[in-house]
């Protein structure tokens, strides 16, 4: 029985601790600021997260690049040489083309390593929603599942990952071309705080308009409470783009009060997702009702 290695990418927003605990590795994407390329390091080893988001607050434009083929080549080979099979769980194809790049390389590598299996899975999610699937995959594989079984299992769970994000503005997402929004979200909507969710196709979709920051924070908690399943056995992920500690505490306390759960994980949104979503975004993620909403379809 070959060992199964779970690999994800810089979009997964997994902290080094989580990756270590579940034995997950990741392929790095890059950020570009003022012409300088830097690896998107989820450990924030060479960049202070607060400073990073401050650049954006001051109007600095940070762009991102896909995982380069060489990076996949480096990470994949590392585990293939160790005799592992690979399940790579990548960012939603609606957000990044990385999974396609990985798939092309995987075909080539499987010729070179005929005994190895490599699965490249479009997670339909981004950020720690992608990371949560990687964790689930790691746990599943650790119980003795093969790469094929793990891949099948994860594909079936993608739309159970709920993501509710409160942003100050859609401007960053729009500029990055990473949000789908109806005409309701056009125009000068001062004070309106859009709620963004990951839809059934993996789009980041402007889902709902809420007036004011406090109301939008309440709304993501309410939405999570409404759709989460088996909360008491779950970790709820509270991730943020450099929000004020007091604000985070308020949200955390309300979740503790209203949604019984095993644990609330709080961490930063990493540089890739952060550059697209903008400072002060805040998101709640957990497993729950299957997501069926598709942007552009009338709601039932």
């Amino acid at each position: 029985m070959r060992r199964v290695q779970i690999i994800t990418d810089s979009c997964s927003d997994l902290t080094p601790e989580l990756m270590e605990r579940y034995g997950i590795d990741y392929a790095q994407m890059n950020t570009v600021y003022e012409g300088k390329t830097a690896p998107a390091d989820l450990a924030w080893a060479n960049e202070d997260a607060h400073r990073f988001y401050d650049i954006m607050r001051r109007g600095g434009r940070i762009t991102t690049t896909q995982v380069p083929v060489e990076e996949y080549n480096r990470v994949f080979r590392k585990y293939l040489d160790d005799g592992c099979d690979i399940v790579y769980i990548g960012c939603s194809l609606k957000q990044s083309g990385s999974v396609n790049t990985a798939s092309v390389l995987a075909k080539k590598l499987m010729q070179e390593y005929p005994e190895a299996t490599i699965h490249c899975i479009n997670s339909l999610r981004a950020s720690i929603g992608e990371g949560m699937l990687a964790i689930e995959a790691a746990k599943f594989a650790a119980n003795g599942a093969s790469a094929d079984e793990t891949a099948e299992y994860i594909k079936g769970r993608r739309n159970e990952v709920l993501e509710f994000t409160a942003v100050h503005t859609l401007d960053y997402l729009k500029r990055a071309g990473r949000v789908k929004a109806s005409s309701a979200f056009f125009g000068n909507l001062l004070g309106v705080k859009p709620i963004v969710i990951a839809d059934a196709d993996g789009e980041q979709a402007a889902y709902k308009k809420v007036k004011g920051r406090s109301a939008s924070l309440n709304e993501i908690i309410n939405l999570l409470n409404e759709h989460i399943i088996g909360s008491q056995d779950q970790t709820i992920y509270l991730i943020h783009a450099d929000c004020h500690p007091e604000e985070l505490l308020r949200v955390k306390e309300r979740i503790q009060k209203e949604i019984p759960c095993k644990n609330i994980h709080v961490s930063y949104i990493g540089p890739i997702i952060g550059a697209s979503i903008g400072p002060d975004a805040i998101a709640l993620l957990a497993f729950g009702d299957e997501v069926t909403f598709r942007i552009g379809e009338k709601r039932s």
Partner: protein, 547 residues
């Protein structure tokens, strides 16, 4: 004089007499504003509503029942403002009372007036006493109590009671008492009846012409008149002239002097006098001559001169002459003034803006035209003023081609809050309307404007020219400095549970000052998001929307 009955030729004369008298007093009625700022327009509203009635009857050779029906139908369409809508419903009831009658004697007239009162009350969801409603009710009831020998006697009794009731309106309505004025609509009604009575007493009415309707500025395509173009259409020239005592004897001034001159330099002439203001409209190739001539009698309040080659070829989307749009599922019609405000609403999803607001109430017909233009299955209407809601509702009742929801928006702030939450993706009319109504709840809209008379209100000794900050009918701040008035106004607003403040700055203020006020509010309300919009509206230096 003893008139036994009214037939349609006489009714026509009575209407003309009433309109003429109202026209003479229109400024005074506008100034019976409960607020000491220049946004009162009851006089205009009633005048324009009456003119609509007169336009509907080019001839007068039918029975009085049919004739008065046509008058009231014309008034229904032209109705603007609460006073106009109530007046149109009063006329509607009178027409119902005269139905099938060839001529009306004093008793029949009295009964028709009672029927008018009933219709007027039915038109208002929550009738308020101390307004025109009370004036027409008490006067009609008292005058109907005894038989009259002739029409003159009926009108005389009607007027005696109407004047008495009008005097009492401040006792019935606190806002009037506070402002020290009588009800403007009631006063307007008395002008109408007095004018009619004077015709009965042998005074000939003078003709009424023209209209106070301003025309909306167009988005002009300057390429339509190039280096090689010839001036074929001339300039559309519109002037508002205030007669000056230093230049002319106002009492003896006759607008015909100007009208005759205009004939020598152009065509499409409208020229009439209201109080000390002369409204001038002419199409001419030499507008400078008009400007030079008219300035001999006064100074200009406004001057608008547009090359008609541009006007003729380029109509804005909101123009009544623009093409009808393709049928859509949902549309939004909103009333607004100020280029920035209108543009903001358009960006937020308003399909059609009706020019207007507190000092220019759109008519029922304006709404119906807008409904036709947007051509949608469902139309959401934002009147944005308490004085416009009735006309919008009247239009909604009369229009059958769309399902219309009049949203109960009383301020620009209400509309702003509702439109930011506009989302038609549910496809459900009720849900969409409910969500927008919900978004308006708790929204505070306060304004800064300039005071136009010395008065005492809410404990403030106000002076002409001072700035005042007010919320609803309550004055919250007053100062000679515009910025300070706005800041003190903000201080008086309860920001609890509010975290967004939009400052809509008016045409008379500037960006730097608005930003300064925004900073002040940011500092005094930590966590509150404050934004400035260049609204460009007249009258209100600032509109603060707190939500």
């Amino acid at each position: 004089m003893s008139t036994q009955y009214i037939d349609s030729p006489l009714l026509m004369k009575l209407l003309r007499g009433g309109i003429d008298n109202l026209n003479k007093h229109v400024d005074e009625i506008n100034e019976l504003n409960v607020f000491p700022i220049p946004d009162g327009d009851t006089g205009y509203n009633m005048l324009l509503t009456m003119e609509g009635g007169l336009r509907a009857v080019p001839d007068n050779n039918e029975e009085i029942g049919a004739f008065s029906r046509r008058v009231s139908d014309g008034m229904l369409l032209a109705a603007r403002g609460n006073s106009g809508v109530i007046l149109s419903q009063f006329a509607d009831g009178i027409a119902a009372g005269l139905d099938g009658i060839k001529t009306a004697n004093a008793d029949e007239t009295a009964n028709a007036f009672l029927s008018g009162v009933k219709h007027a009350y039915d038109a208002v969801a929550e009738p308020v006493e101390g307004t025109m409603l009370t004036v027409i009710r008490e006067a009609s009831q008292l005058a109907a109590e005894k038989p009259h020998e002739n029409i003159e006697a009926y009108f005389s009794d009607f007027l005696t009671q109407a004047r008495e009731t009008l005097r009492n309106t401040p006792e019935m309505l606190d806002v009037l008492k506070k402002a020290g004025v009588v009800d403007s609509g009631g006063a307007g009604l008395i002008c109408l009846v007095e004018g009619a009575a004077s015709v009965l007493n042998g005074e000939a009415p003078s003709p009424v012409t023209g209209s106070f309707l301003p025309t909306a500025p167009n988005d002009l395509d300057l390429e339509l008149f190039n280096e090689d173009s010839e001036l074929t259409f001339g300039y559309c020239t519109e002037l508002l002239l205030r007669l000056q005592r230093s230049k002319t004897d106002i009492e003896l001034f006759d607008a015909d002097i100007i009208k005759n001159y205009l004939r020598s330099v152009g065509d499409s002439i409208v020229c009439f006098q209201t109080g000390t203001i002369v409204k001038i409209h002419v199409h001419t190739k030499t507008p400078y001559k008009v400007l030079e001539f008219c300035q001999k009698y006064g100074e200009y309040l406004t001057v608008k001169i547009e090359n008609m080659s541009l006007q003729h070829n380029n109509l804005p989307a909101d123009s009544p002459l623009a093409e009808q749009q393709e049928r859509k599922s949902f549309a939004v019609v909103a009333v607004a003034s100020g280029e920035g405000v209108k543009q903001t609403f358009r960006e937020m999803g308003a399909d059609f803006i009706i020019e207007g607001g507190q000092s220019m109430n759109p008519s029922t017909d304006d709404f119906i035209e807008a409904f036709k233009r947007v051509n949608a299955d469902a139309i959401f209407v934002f009147p944005n003023n308490g004085n416009v809601i009735l006309a919008a509702q009247q239009a909604a009742k009369m229009y059958n081609d769309s399902s219309i929801r009049v949203i109960d928006s009383k301020t620009i702030g209400d509309c702003y809050a509702a439109l930011t939450m506009l989302d038609t993706s549910s496809g459900n009319i009720e849900e969409i309307a409910r969500n927008m109504s919900k978004a308006m709840q708790g929204v505070v809209t306060a304004c800064v404007s300039q005071c136009i008379r010395n008065t005492e209100m809410d404990g403030f000794l106000l002076q002409d020219g001072q700035y005042i900050g007010f919320l609803g009918k309550d004055i919250l701040s007053a100062d000679n400095d515009r910025r300070d008035t706005a800041c003190m106004l903000a201080d008086r607003i309860d920001f609890t549970d509010h975290e967004i403040c939009i400052i809509v700055r008016g045409a008379d203020s500037n960006d730097a000052e608005a930003e300064d006020i925004a900073d002040y509010i940011r500092k005094s309300h930590i966590g509150c998001e404050v934004y400035v919009i260049d609204g460009g509206q007249e009258i209100y230096s600032y509109i603060l929307i707190v939500e």
